[in-house]
């Protein structure tokens, strides 16, 4: 076309792009932490599934399908753009790197494929424009930026079609032959409109199409690092370098006392302390808002929005880019504390750590670890948290239980039952880790009692730690008090290892998650089983048989720490379904889309942050909509939260039973 213009365009565009990328690249390295690149095989598998396979996109069906069309379209059309760049340097209108030249076999074939994908991308763009301009979903950030980018894509593609159509007509005039080409169907469609145009007009349109296309591609490229469309570049690396640890596991702060001595921050105080992976998360956010759409805090009108958290951190990062790069991680540089200047304190404390946001994010952005890191700094270095949480921490320090119930009362639940103490029992197959709520909370005690009866009926060799057990520390950890958590974990592991414990049974998903995934970091490696799985196993072995009818309609509420974070959805349902008389119904929001009860992340022990509604009330309403007369759960915290909601709503007609309690009824008939 015109080598000089083409060269100038490319040099200018790539130069500006290089400058943009250089700054963003430096920001990635502020913390000095290296990105995750271990377990390469697994990373490739996940990248295939979630990046190329677009697995999570279609959790929102139509938007997902439209995105798939654009994503695959872009992949396919990348070659076309490279071909056009090359044609800028040559006079050969058919040039295609010698392999894809128009008229050749592969060139023709690619031409056809290209047109099919142009149609798919345009369809996707139209669907997206419909979302942005007509449907306007609340979850999305409806910015001019989004529409502009879509418009650029649309014009870019139509320009290519125009270039091709005009080219076909011009070529036919030279050859004076048939000009319609099945290999270039879109361009051919324009022939009837262009056929009668004079040569001069055709040449103009031919050039207009070409230069519009290549210029828009280069403008588009330069918009990427400054807009949410940066994800076009960062998404695949972000998915590749995602956290591979279990979803419910938090990373420890190593050597807390040493860090204090060296005056290193505990948790995260400033933006430049975020890791390579965290910053890549910020770059990758597309502002689609699926995270916030599923967030129980956001859904009940709290100030927290996971999307806003990411965007606010990203914008703060961009706004301070030059200062941050100059400071290069220097602790003395003047950079704002993130809370409350960038992240609102109320938002930070509204998170229940339920993981709904992380499960939804198509780009595998993490939120919970960032929120906990921000809490860690506030709690440990500034001593800032609600007074009820402070009270909970000191209860845990004083009594080993967030409820403030002393170890001497930890066996009260077992009065009148045959409950063997580990310290007095030799031959133990499984240690029943009772947990603070089942051991001491008036209502939850009955879960521990039901479990004890079932274990005895099944003839299991079991025991409990009794007064030697204390809180796993989950509440402290998720509320930011890592130091207290590590102290409690250390003491518990000493007790457990002292008894050479191998298998642990829990009735609390929080205990389950912490013992299973978090204690190994501190030297406590056990096989941990939640009671829903264990009871299902005892039933399949014929050791427990539900025989008596329990005539009721049950809706099962999924605990986040059991379901979403540990993938246990089926066992509790299997148990309920096998009980004679039980009709099992599902809430609209169930399984992985089931909403949190509002207790996780330390919320159980603090007041709700201000909002329109309390989370447990909203969840109770969803469950009541099913018309069930019994709500069944497998977590003492969930039960407590739902009970509070039902009591306040005066639903005395609704029963609430743990899976173990329902099963015991059916096994014994009592």
């Amino acid at each position: 076309m015109n080598p000089l213009v083409m060269a100038l365009l490319l040099v200018a565009a790539l130069g500006v792009f290089g400058v943009s990328i250089r700054g963003r690249w430096k920001l990635l390295h502020l913390s000095g932490e290296r990105p995750h690149i271990d377990r390469i095989g697994e990373r490739f598998r996940l990248t295939l599934k979630y990046a190329l396979g677009q697995k999570r996109l279609t959790r929102y069906k139509f938007a997902g399908l439209a995105h798939k069309a654009i994503f695959f379209g872009f992949l396919m059309l990348l070659l076309r753009t490279l071909i056009l760049f090359a044609r800028g340097f040559t006079d050969d209108p058919k040039f295609g790197y010698w392999i894809f030249d128009s008229g050749d076999l592969l060139g023709n074939f690619y031409g056809l494929i290209k047109d099919i994908y142009i149609v798919l991308v345009i369809t996707g763009v139209v669907v997206f424009l419909h979302y942005r301009l007509v449907i306007k979903p609340k979850r999305m950030t409806l910015s001019g930026e989004g529409v502009l980018i879509l418009a650029i894509i649309l014009v870019m593609l139509l320009a290519d079609v125009l270039y091709e159509g005009a080219g076909l007509v011009l070529a036919s005039r030279d050859a004076a032959g048939l000009h319609f080409s099945i290999w270039e169907p879109l361009g051919s469609l324009l022939i009837p409109f262009l056929e009668s145009a004079p040569d001069g007009t055709l040449v103009f349109l031919y050039h207009l199409g070409f230069w519009t296309h290549v210029t828009l591609v280069l403008i588009f490229l330069n918009l990427l690092p400054h807009t949410k469309h940066f994800h076009i570049i960062t998404a695949i690396p972000n998915i590749f370098m995602q956290e591979l640890e279990p979803a419910g596991k938090l990373k420890p702060i190593e050597d807390i006392e040493g860090r204090i001595e060296r005056e290193e921050t505990l948790g995260i105080r400033r933006i430049d302390q975020f890791s390579f992976n965290a910053i890549l998360d910020f770059y990758s956010c597309t502002e689609c808002g699926r995270c916030t759409d599923q967030c129980p805090a956001a859904r009940t009108g709290k100030l927290l929005s996971p999307k806003k958290l990411t965007i606010d951190l990203r914008d703060h990062l961009y706004a301070n880019q030059s200062g941050l790069i100059k400071a290069n991680g220097d602790k003395s540089a003047a950079i704002d504390d993130l809370v409350p200047a960038v992240i609102d304190t109320e938002a930070l404390w509204a998170c229940t750590t339920c993981g709904a946001c992380e499960q939804e994010c198509p780009l595998h952005i993490s939120f919970v670890d960032k929120i906990v890191d921000l809490r860690r700094y506030l709690v440990q270095e500034k001593g800032e948290c609600s007074s009820t949480l402070q009270e909970t921490f000191s209860s845990m320090e004083a009594t080993g239980s967030p409820y403030g119930v002393g170890s001497d009362e930890r066996m009260n639940w077992a009065a009148g039952l045959d409950v063997p103490l580990r310290s007095e029992t030799e031959d133990v197959d499984i240690l029943f880790w009772v947990g603070c709520a089942p051991a001491t909370d008036e209502r939850a005690k009955s879960i521990a009692q039901a479990m004890a009866r079932l274990l005895n009926l099944a003839g299991v060799k079991w025991a409990v730690l009794g007064p030697e057990e204390s809180c796993t520390g989950d509440v402290a950890r998720r509320a930011g008090n890592e130091y207290l958590f590590q102290a409690m974990a250390g003491a518990n592991i000493e007790t457990l290892n002292g008894y050479h414990t191998k298998k642990i049974l829990t009735v609390c998903p929080h205990c389950f998650n912490t013992l299973q995934h978090e204690y190994p970091d501190f030297g406590g490696k056990y096989e941990v089983i939640h009671h829903t799985e264990y009871l299902a196993k005892l039933m399949s072995e014929g050791k427990l048989t539900p025989t008596h009818e329990v005539n009721t309609t049950i809706v099962y509420h999924d605990s986040c720490y059991l379901g979403r974070l540990n993938g246990i959805y089926d066992s509790p349902r299997k148990i309920l379904a096998s009980i004679p008389g039980v009709t099992l119904v599902e809430a609209t929001a169930s399984r992985d889309r089931g909403m949190c009860c509002g207790a996780g992340g330390g919320q159980m022990f603090k007041e709700d942050e201000p909002g329109d509604e309390r989370i447990n009330f909203a969840r109770a309403d969803q469950l009541l909509e099913t018309g069930a007369d019994t709500i069944s759960s497998a977590c003492p915290f969930c039960m407590r939260m739902l009970t509070d909601a039902l009591n306040t709503r005066q639903h005395i007609d609704i029963a609430q039973l743990d899976i173990a309690e329902v099963l015991l009824k059916s096994v014994t008939g009592a």
Binding site: E261, Q380, E381, Q390, S395, T399, V405, G406, Y483
Partner: protein
């Protein structure tokens, strides 16, 4: 201005208490000890005065107890006190607060510093006697304002204005400094000491004094004798009333009238 605050050590009210054989003291093994919550108000008030005013030179915190340093003084130093004084002797392990106040008064007189303001809790949550503050004021010959819920120090640092909680009302008093204040719940919200501050507290100066370091230690004779400690009777179990609402209500009223005799 120099401020002295108190941080007495008491058993955590949530911890399980065990009485040691002999029935005259508590089993201290595994017993979680904390800073008396009312004293935490005093420490917090002192620290906030120092943060707000330029004329507060030093906050000294005093405690009494055998364990060196005890949890209470560590908490107070972590909250922001500058240095500590701990009276440490077997003779101080009893419950006679008049004796303890007399000993602390002697220790205070030993200091080179004179204090313009002494802040202490209204009472210790273990004995609940509330004698200590007023007794200390008497031994030091200072005016004392008790159960303060709001405290203002005059601009020039020569007098104070305090709101006291009294039966059904609040009393506002003024008093020249030096003076002793006892702090009531509602005065201030104590901070949760941060981890770095807890670590730094270990390095702050702490003066340990035995009874023999005090002038005329012989005068310290207990006037109060502890005879016996007994645990309270266990709480009777909770009774659940079941059935339809009307029946439950009727049953509840019946029991409240006939069994509990409260209506």
């Amino acid at each position: 201005m120099k401020i002295l605050t108190l941080a007495m050590q008491v058993p955590d009210s949530r911890a399980a208490l065990k009485i040691s054989p002999g029935g005259k003291s508590l089993e201290t093994r595994d017993l979680k000890l904390i800073c008396n919550p009312f004293d935490e108000f005093a420490v917090e008030q002192a620290v906030q005065l120092k943060e707000q005013r330029s004329d507060v030179e030093e906050i000294v915190v005093a405690t009494i107890g055998a364990e060196k340093p005890n949890q209470a003084i560590r908490t107070a130093l972590a909250m922001g006190a500058d240095r500590g004084i701990q009276l440490c002797d077997d003779i101080f392990s009893g419950q006679d607060e008049i004796l303890l106040a007399e000993a602390l008064a002697a220790a205070i007189r030993l200091q080179e510093t004179t204090f313009d303001l002494i802040l202490c809790g209204k009472q210790a949550i273990d004995t609940d006697s509330g004698e200590f503050g007023p007794a200390l004021a008497e031994f030091l010959d200072l005016p004392h304002v008790g159960a303060v819920v709001k405290l203002d120090i005059s601009e020039d640092g020569t007098s104070l204005r305090a709101h006291r909680r009294i039966e059904g009302a609040e009393e506002i008093v003024e008093c020249p400094l030096p003076a002793l204040i006892t702090c009531e719940k509602g005065l201030i919200e104590p901070r949760y000491p941060s981890l770095p501050n807890l670590m730094k507290a270990k390095k702050k100066p702490l003066q340990i004094l035995a009874a023999s370091d005090l002038p005329e230690p012989g005068c310290l004779t207990p006037g109060l004798q502890l005879l016996e400690l007994t645990p309270p009777a266990p709480r009777p179990p909770c009774t659940f009333i079941e059935g339809p609402p009307e029946k439950m209500a009727r049953e509840l009223v019946k029991r409240l009238r006939d069994e509990a005799k409260v209506i």
